[in-house]
Subunit: 397 residues, 2 copies
DNA sequence: GGGGCTTGTGAGAGCGCTCTCAAGGATGTA
DNA sequence: TACATCCTTGAGAGCGCTCTCACAAGCCCC
C-alpha cells in the first residue's frame, strides 16, 4: 500500500472549507427564468470593503493563518459567505508559485472504427489508464491538488507543444507509457518535475511500474509446471513499450530454463488492444499457423481479443489453447472463461506516482529513479485451472 | 454527431506550436547522473533580454499576432527555443482572464471492498463516466482547453468547498450525475458557466442526457412484443438520480399500455453498480421472491451484477429470466450472454457537453436548457434474441 | 509612568503575463 | 523639403492574489 494522509493537508485551512460559496445550503428557486446577472467577478477587494478590513486580513482568514482575532475573522467570513466569493486560482497560483495542479498525459488510440464491432469502443483499452488515473486523483485530493487531464493521439509524433502548454499550467507532470521519448522526457524533466508510469527512468525523472519480471516469471512457470505447456507464444504490445519488452524477455528466459519453446516476433505483435489481439490471431489462423499450447498476452485487453478470435474460429479455451493476460483489469473477471492474469495494484500505481511527484514538487530529491510495485498471479479459467480453484497464486519470492 | 472543428482554434497561434520547448528533437543523454540545475524559472523577461527586444514583442510573437516583422519574430523564436521557455499558465490566465481549463466533477464510490471479489474494483462502475470524460477531453483539445478532473466521494454531503475551489481554477464546470443538488447547481451557475450530464436543467445551467424515454420505451416494447414478457421488474439506480427516475416512469407507462405487470420499489434499488445489482438479486432470492420474466436494469453495470447473481444461483439467462441494461458500455459485449441494452452515444454526450459549455464561456446564452441525444436499442443474447441476430434494433420514432 | 514586548492590522510590492497607448522610423504626398 | 500616414516597437499599467514590512495598540515589568 501507498502511505497516505487520511486528513487533507488543508484541514488547517478550515476557513476555506466552511465559508466559501455555500453550495450545500437550503433550496432556492431552481427553474425561475431570471437570467444570470452579469456582474463583474468578485475580488478580494470587494470582500475587504464589505467586511471593513484590508485585503491582507481577508487573505489571512482565507488561508487559515492564526493571526486575525476571532472578531475580524467572523467579519471576513460573513462577507465571503454573503457575497459568495471564490478566490481566483490563477491569481493565487501566480502569487504563491503553486498551482496545486498536476498534469496527467496518456496516449490514446484514434477514433477510427476497429476491425470488429465487438470491440467498437476501442477506448476500452484505456481501462488500465482510467483506473490508474483514479488512483492518482484520489491521492492528489488528499493534498488539495487536482488533475489536469490530457491525451496525445497515438499517431501524433510531435506532442511537444501540447505538453509544454500543460507544463505551464501545472506544477508537475505524470506521463503514461509512450507519451514522450526518453530524450523528450529528459528535456521536460529539466524544467518541471516528471514521473512516468510504465516507462523508463531517466536522470531527471522517476518511473513507476509493476513488477513485470516477477509477475511474468511466475505466470510462465505456472503454465509450464502446472499445465505442462510445451510451446508458449508471447503476443507483445507496442514494440517500443518498455513494459512489453521486459515481459517478453522474461518469457524467453523463464521458458529457456525449462527448454520450452517460445514463439514471438513481428507476426505476434498487438497494440495492447482487443482489436490488435484478435487481428493477430485471425491472421495467423488464416495463414495456417498452428496454435501453441499457450498464448501469453502483453496485457488483458489483448487477451480479450485473442479469446474472442479463438472462440469464433472454433477453438476451445483452455482446452485447445490456454490464454493469459496481464494487469487484471475489471473485465478480466467477466469474460468466459475468466482470464488468468497478473494482478497489478493499478490504483496503487497511480497513488504512488502522485506521492512521488508531490514530494518532487515539494523540493525533495527522489532517492530512487525506478520504483517497482509487487504484483500477483491470479489463476482463473483461461489457463486451464478450474474456475473453483483458489483465486490467487502465492508469489514465489 | 457533434459539430467539431477539425483544426484547433490555435492553429493561428502557430509560433506556439513550433517554438516551445522542443521535446521532440534529437536524442540527449538520458541517464547521465548530472542533477537538474535548480535555476529560477524562466520568464518572458529572460526571453526578451536574450532576444534583445521588449517583453511586449515576445508576447506578440508567442500569441501569433501579425505585427512583428519576420526578423524580430525569428529572434524571439530562437531565444525561446534556446532557453526552452514555457510561459506560465497562471500569469497568462490572470492577465487574459481565460484559463483554458474546464473542471469536470463526478461522484465516485468509496474504496471499501464490495460484497463479492468478482466486483472488487468497484471503480469499474465508472466506465460510463470515463468514456464520457474521454469525449469531453477530445472536444476540449480542439479548443486548446484541458480538463481539470475531480471527484466527490459518494458519502460526501458537503462538496461545496471542493467545488468552489475548482470553480476558481477553471473557466466553467461540467458536473456528472448527483454531484450537487439542484439548489447547489443554481448557486454555482450564478457564478460560473455550468453544464450537467444526466442531471436536471436549472434556470442557469444546461443539462445533457441520452433519450431515456425513447430508449427505454423501445426496450420494454421489445421485451413485451417479441419475447412476450408478462412481468417486468425495474431495478433502479440511486433513488435521486434523474435518469433512473425517468427510466422507471417510462417502464411503468409502456408496460401499462400492454397490461404488463411492473415490479419495482425499495427492494429493487441498486446503486448503478454491479455490486448493488448482485446484492438486490441475492436478497430477493434469499427471501423466496419469485423472479419476473424480465429484469430491466437502470444501467449496464447493474445488469452485470444481476447476471452474475442469477447464474450463481442456477438461473438461466435468458431462459429463466431475461435481463437488460442501459448505456452499452464496452464490457456489455464481453459477458455471457451478451447484454441487450440501450446504446447511448456516450462519447458524444461528453463532446456535446463541452461544446455547450465552451459556447457559454464564450459569452453566448444557450437557447436550450435541456439537450437530448438519440439512443438505440441493441438486442443481444440476454433478452433471448439469438446471439446471431442483427446487432441493432431500429428505433421506432 | 516609561521602555520594551507581543500581537493584530494595513500599506504596498511583487508574481509573470497581456494589452493599451504613445513614440519613433519609414514611407508617401504636396 | 515639410508634413501627414502607416507600421513596428517599447514603456508601463493592471490582472487578483500572497506576503513582507512597518506601524499602532495593548500588555508587562521595573
Amino acid at each position: 500500500m501507498v502511505p497516505q494522509d487520511a486528513t487533507p493537508e488543508h484541514a488547517a485551512d478550515s476557513a476555506f472549507d466552511t465559508a466559501l460559496l455555500p453550495l450545500d445550503g437550503a433550496a432556492v428557486d431552481v427553474l425561475t427564468a431570471e437570467p444570470r446577472k452579469a456582474t463583474a467577478p468578485l475580488t478580494i477587494y470587494d470582500v475587504a470593503r464589505h467586511a471593513g478590513v484590508s485585503i491582507a486580513s481577508v487573505s489571512r482568514v482565507l488561508n487559515g493563518h492564526a493571526t486575525p482575532r476571532p472578531e475580524t475573522r467572523d467579519r471576513v467570513l460573513r462577507a465571503v459567505a454573503e457575497l459568495g466569493f471564490v478566490p481566483d486560482g490563477a491569481a493565487r497560483a501566480l502569487s504563491s508559485r503553486l498551482k496545486e495542479i498536476i498534469a496527467v498525459v496518456y496516449r490514446r488510440a484514434p477514433l477510427a472504427p476497429p476491425d470488429d464491432p465487438v470491440f467498437e469502443d476501442e477506448s476500452e483499452n484505456l481501462a488500465f489508464v482510467d483506473v490508474i488515473n483514479r488512483g492518482v486523483q484520489i491521492a492528489a485530493q488528499h493534498r488539495g491538488f487536482d488533475l489536469l487531464l490530457s491525451s496525445v493521439e497515438v499517431d501524433d509524433h510531435t506532442p511537444g507543444p501540447r505538453i509544454a502548454n500543460l507544463a505551464g499550467k501545472s506544477d508537475g507532470m505524470l506521463l503514461h507509457d509512450r507519451v514522450l521519448t526518453p530524450s523528450g522526457i529528459v528535456r521536460l524533466a529539466d524544467r518541471v518535475p516528471v514521473v512516468t508510469l510504465a516507462g523508463t527512468p531517466t536522470r531527471a525523472s522517476v518511473n513507476i511500474s509493476g513488477d513485470n519480471i516477477g509477475g511474468m516469471r511466475d505466470l510462465i512457470k505456472h503454465l509450464i509446471e502446472v499445465h505442462h505447456c510445451a510451446s508458449i507464444a508471447y503476443l507483445s504490445g507496442h514494440a517500443d513499450s518498455p513494459d512489453s519488452v521486459a515481459r517478453h524477455r522474461v518469457v524467453r528466459e523463464t521458458a529457456a530454463e525449462y527448454d520450452v519453446r517460445v514463439i514471438a516476433g513481428p507476426h505476434w505483435t498487438g497494440e495492447y488492444s482487443a482489436t490488435g489481439g484478435a487481428r493477430v490471431i485471425r491472421a495467423l489462423l488464416d495463414s495456417g499457423t498452428a496454435m501453441p499450447d499457450a498464448i501469453a498476452c502483453a496485457n488483458d485487453q489483448t487477451a480479450l481479443g485473442v479469446l474472442h478470435a479463438l472462440q469464433e474460429r472454433g477453438y476451445h479455451v483452455p482446452g485447445d489453447v490456454k490464454v493469459t493476460g496481464f494487469d487484471d483489469i475489471p473485465v478480466a473477471r467477466h469474460v468466459v472463461p475468466q482470464l488468468t492474469t497478473v494482478r497489478q495494484p493499478i490504483q496503487d500505481l497511480g497513488a504512488m506516482a502522485f506521492d512521488v511527484l508531490y514530494s518532487m514538487i515539494s523540493g525533495e530529491r527522489p532517492d530512487e529513479r525506478q520504483l517497482v510495485l509487487p504484483v500477483q498471479v491470479v489463476v482463473r479459467g483461461s489457463c486451464g485451472c478450474a474456475a473453483e480453484s483458489p483465486p490467487s497464486f502465492p508469489r514465489t519470492a
